[in-house]
Every structure is written in C-alpha cells, then in structure tokens.
Amino acid sequence: MIELVGVNKWYGDFRALKDIDFEVGKGEKVVVCGPSGSGKSTMIRLINRLEAHQSGRIVVDGVELSDDLKSIDTIRREVGMVFQSFNLFPHLTVMENLTLAPIWVRKMPKRAAEEHAAHFLDRVKIPEQADKYPGQLSGGQQQRVAIARALCMRPKVMLFDEPTSALDPEMIKEVLDVMVELANEGMTMVCVTHEMGFAKTVADRVVFMDQGEIVEGAPPSEFFAAPKTDRAKLFLSQILGH
C-alpha cells in the first residue's frame, strides 16, 4: 500500500531523514515510535506530501509521488490524516467540516454527503454534535470529529500524527477506542504515537526511529519483550519506566 525506498529529507543542512526504507501492506497497522526529533512525524507527512522529499521513491497505492500535482491530488484523496492539534476548521460546523471535502473533492451531492457524515459521526460516537462549532467541543470530541472528517473521504490509508499528545489524560481513551475499532475493521493505519498500550493491542508491527533513521521494526510482542538495539532499549525504559 505504502512504499518508501531510500527516502531522504533535508531541512537546509539538517538531514531529517536518512535513506528511509519503509513498507506498509494493505490492512496492516504500523505504529511508529521514537524520541522527539527522530523524524517520525516528518516521515508520515511525506506520505501525503505535506512535506516534500528530496530523494528516493514514495509510492502510495500504486501511484508514485512526484512534483506532478495530479499524483499529489490522487494520493491525498486516498490518504486520510489526523493531526496532533486536530486542525478542525473553526468557522464551520462539525457537519460542514465533515462534508466540505466529500462535496468538493469527491463531488458527492450535499444530501448524500450529509448522510454519509452522520454515519461516521455515529461511529465516533458523537452524532449529537453535528451542528456545533469545533470550539464548543472538548479536545477528545474534536479529535474524534477530525477522525470522522478524514474517514468521510473513504481513504484507503489513515495516517495518525500523535493523535493523543495534545489531549488531557481523561480524553485519551475515548480517542484510542475509536482508533482500535477502526483497526479492527481492517483499515490500513500508520500511527505515530507513544501510546504503547495501543501499540500492543492493535499494531502488526512497531517501527522505532531515532535521529532520522529506522532503527528497528518488529511485531509488538517481540519489540517490547526484546528490543534488539541499545537505542530502543533506552527509549523503552524511558517511556515505560514511569
């Protein structure tokens, strides 16, 4: 589904990603973890071209990402993204947030898009909030709306960029529950997160990154029980130690 081969990314002189090879199969759930500044967010932001890579190949669902706007549009239509800071559109109601892209990008009729959106609001368990503005919702509710918004485009892949990092502790669970459900339905997911409980429950594979490199990748049982590298050991001891 997603394939990165020899991908490099520089910010000026700083090399943020070094020869990344990364592959996600259809229906696979991959959790990406690592210390901050390790390039994990940058890597998933390359996949839908929120950042441009300088060398290497990125192929999503058979389409290679290039400077060609057409390839970018095609890929963005198939890839949903959920951000750390929700990034809902504050001047639009929840319903309008959900239907805007289906109407204008997918060319769905308004009625159909609204029924569709109501269905996904139901799935993230906030059907009653459709007419509110994002500012009136709690953080957890906003993030669930953001997930529903991405799902309304019927993506083939969902990218999560630290979806629970900006949430108060009591709201993390409601968002993770929605994500677990989504995973159980067979969605292909790439998830940057420090929620190791989530990784253990749903991930097929955990990828550990440090200093712009993929250091190791293994099924969660293996990775948590016996990390192969010292860097991964150190990282795990830091985040699981408290």
């Binding site: 071209r49 800071s85 990034n87 559109f89 504050p90």
Partner: protein, 367 residues
C-alpha cells in the same frame, strides 16, 4: 475608577462618579469650566446667533464673528451636493445617491448575503449609470465632466472599494505565493504603488498617461482617476489582507491539503473566511481612509463634494464663510465614516457571537 450603579438616583450618581475624591472633584470642575468657556460660545455661534436664511448674504456679513452663516448652505446646497450637473436635472444624481445608500444598507444586512445580492448590485449600478448619463428613456444626456458633489464622491468610493477589495485579495495571495514570478510581481506592484503618494498617482493618471497613449485613443478623465484610486487602495488593502492570512495557523492549510482540497478551494472555503474575519477592523480602517482620500481628486479638477464646497466659497457674497462650509463637509463625511465604523463593530460582534450563541443553546439543552 468610577462605577455607575444602575437605578441610583441622580444626586448619588453625581456624588459617586464626579465628586468621589479631591482629584475627581477638581477634574470635574475644570471640565465644567472648559465647557462653559468653549462649548457655550460655540452653541451660541452655531445656533442662537446663526443666520439661517439670507439669499443675498447681507445678514451673514452683518452677523460675521458672532453668528454662523448657515444661509450659505441653504443657498448653495444644490451645488455642493450635485456640482455642475444641470440644475433642473439634479433629481437624477440625488436619486443615484439614494440608490447608493440603499445598496449599502441592503449589503449590510446579513439576511441579504445571498447570491441575489450580486444581481441587486448590478441592477442598482445600471440604474445609477442610466440616471447619471441619461440619453435613454427620455433622459437628457449629461457628460461625466459635469458630474460632481456627493454623487461623484460616492461613485469614486463605491467603485474604488468594489474593485480594489477583490484585487487586493489576489495581490495578497500573490505575495504569499510559492511561485517566484507571481510573488515578485505582487511585491513589486504593492511596494511601487504604496511608495507613491495618491496625489502623484492621480497626476500621472490625468496628465502623464494621455501623453503615452496612441493618438486618437483617449480614456475618460474620470475613469483614469478611478483606476488610479483602485490601484492605490488595492495596494493598501492587500497588506491588510496579508496580515490576516499570516494569522491563520499552518495546521489549517495542512488539514485542507490533507483532505485533497485544491489551492483555490482551500483559500476560498478555509483560509480567506477566517483571515478576512480577523481583518475586519483594519479593513474598515482602510475603507474609511479611502473614502476620505477620494477628496484628493480636486487637484485634477474633478468636482467631488469637497471641491464643490470649496468652489461655493469663491462666490463673492459667500467668501469668508469657510468655517461653515467646511463644517458642513465634515458633517457629511463624518456621517458616512461613522456609519462604516459602527457597522464594522456590529459585524465583529455578530460574527464572533455566532459561536457563543450556539454554545449557550447547547448548554441549555444539556441542562
């Protein structure tokens, strides 16, 4: 700090708010003294001793120094408001001005923010064009060199803002574009126009431009001035819009892009609605400045409101009554600018309230 308590009787209100301490008492007394010395004589001059009617201006000259000469306005108001437009046809610019004001009012009502508003404007502007030019429906043709006064001021301001505002949005987007050619063009235009006084732009438009045009081709003087003003206003407004654009967090762009929205849809649906909303105060500030700047067309011989008022004073029987004439001009400009200012405050409030109202409603339902 004084706090006004609701329902308190006047005596205790005065005591609490004006004489609560030595400092307060002193301030109150000083202000009362100044009012006594300044405002009373002004009222005396402007109202009690004023001359309201004097077709030959004799009474005015006798009262000069003690009473205002409003007879000047009474006598010359037709010329002040409509300039050299043929006298017996002046109902036409009067009606045109009323149509302008009606268009402003309709546009100000949020219930009217519908697609048909554009048609209302087209119809209104067409009616104004027919009224001002004539030549059809049995109306006598009046060339635009004879247009003047308030109608001309409203015309310059309305068309100026109506064209400059959309242009400024494109300029602001261009200045933030990632495409170097578009960005340089936008920056070049904005900096060039903004770095030149409006007066010199108007001079160039009225004096220099005709020299460069091929022989036989001439663009109307009013149109040239109008274009110069549009370009000038657009450069200023573009920077205001850019300020609004810069206040929108990156996440909004990224979320729109991640959903697959194209550049223009992202701008039109997500970024500009938010950016323009936060730019309302500086935008209206610029609109108000622009409305008053239309008076600069006097230097290229167009008879806008301020020019007609100035010209009225050149008549021997009214010379020397500049204060009254300019107070009248100030009152007219103030009426329009103050209306704009109040409207922008109401708009900020209602746009900000939309969310708050819904929140209250939700709160009540939950309770």
């Amino acid at each position: 700090m004084s706090v006004q308590k609701k329902g308190a009787d006047p005596v205790s209100w005065v005591r609490a708010n004006l004489f609560s301490s030595w400092g307060n008492t002193l301030t109150t007394l000083v202000i009362l003294y100044l009012l006594w010395k300044l405002a009373l004589p002004f009222l005396d001059w402007a109202l009690l001793e004023a001359v309201w009617w004097s077709p030959d201006g004799k009474a005015c000259r006798e009262a000069k120094g003690t009473g205002a000469c409003w007879a000047l306005i009474a006598d010359k108001h037709r010329f002040m408001l409509f300039g050299t437009y043929p006298f017996e046809q002046q109902w036409r610019p009067a009606l045109a001005s009323l149509i302008f004001i009606a268009l402003y009012i309709v546009s100000a009502l949020r219930a009217c923010w519908r697609p048909w508003l554009a048609l209302v404007w087209l119809g209104g502007l067409a009616a104004i064009g027919v009224l001002m030019w004539g030549g059809v429906f049995g109306l006598v043709y009046v060339e635009n060199g004879r247009w003047g006064g308030l109608a001309l001021t409203l015309l310059l301001a309305t068309f100026g803002i109506a064209f400059a505002f959309p242009l400024s949005i494109f300029l602001a987007l261009g200045r933030r574009s990632t495409m170097p050619v578009i960005r340089s063009l936008a920056i070049g235009f904005i900096e060039l126009i903004r770095g030149v006084p409006l007066i010199s732009l108007l001079f160039m438009a009225s004096v220099m431009l005709p020299l460069f045009l091929p022989e036989g081709l001439s663009i109307d003087k009013l149109l040239r001035a109008q274009i110069a003003m549009i370009l000038f206003a657009a450069a200023y407004l573009a920077e205001v819009v850019r300020g609004g654009l810069q206040a929108i967090p990156r996440g909004q762009y990224e979320a729109a892009q991640a959903l697959g929205l194209s550049y223009w849809r992202m701008m039109g649906f997500i970024i500009l609605p938010q950016a323009l909303r936060i730019s309302i105060p500086p935008l209206v500030n610029t609109f108000i400045g622009f409305f008053k700047d239309t008076s600069l067309v006097l230097i290229i011989g167009l008879f806008d409101l301020l020019t007609t008022i100035k010209v009225s004073l050149s008549e021997p029987k009214w010379s020397g009554f500049g204060i009254e004439a300019y107070l009248f001009a100030a009152a007219v400009y103030f009426a329009f600018c103050f209306a704009m200012s109040r409207y922008s405050q109401a708009l900020e409030g209602s746009l900000g309230e939309a969310g708050a109202r819904a929140a209250n409603k939700a709160g009540r339902e939950a309770a």
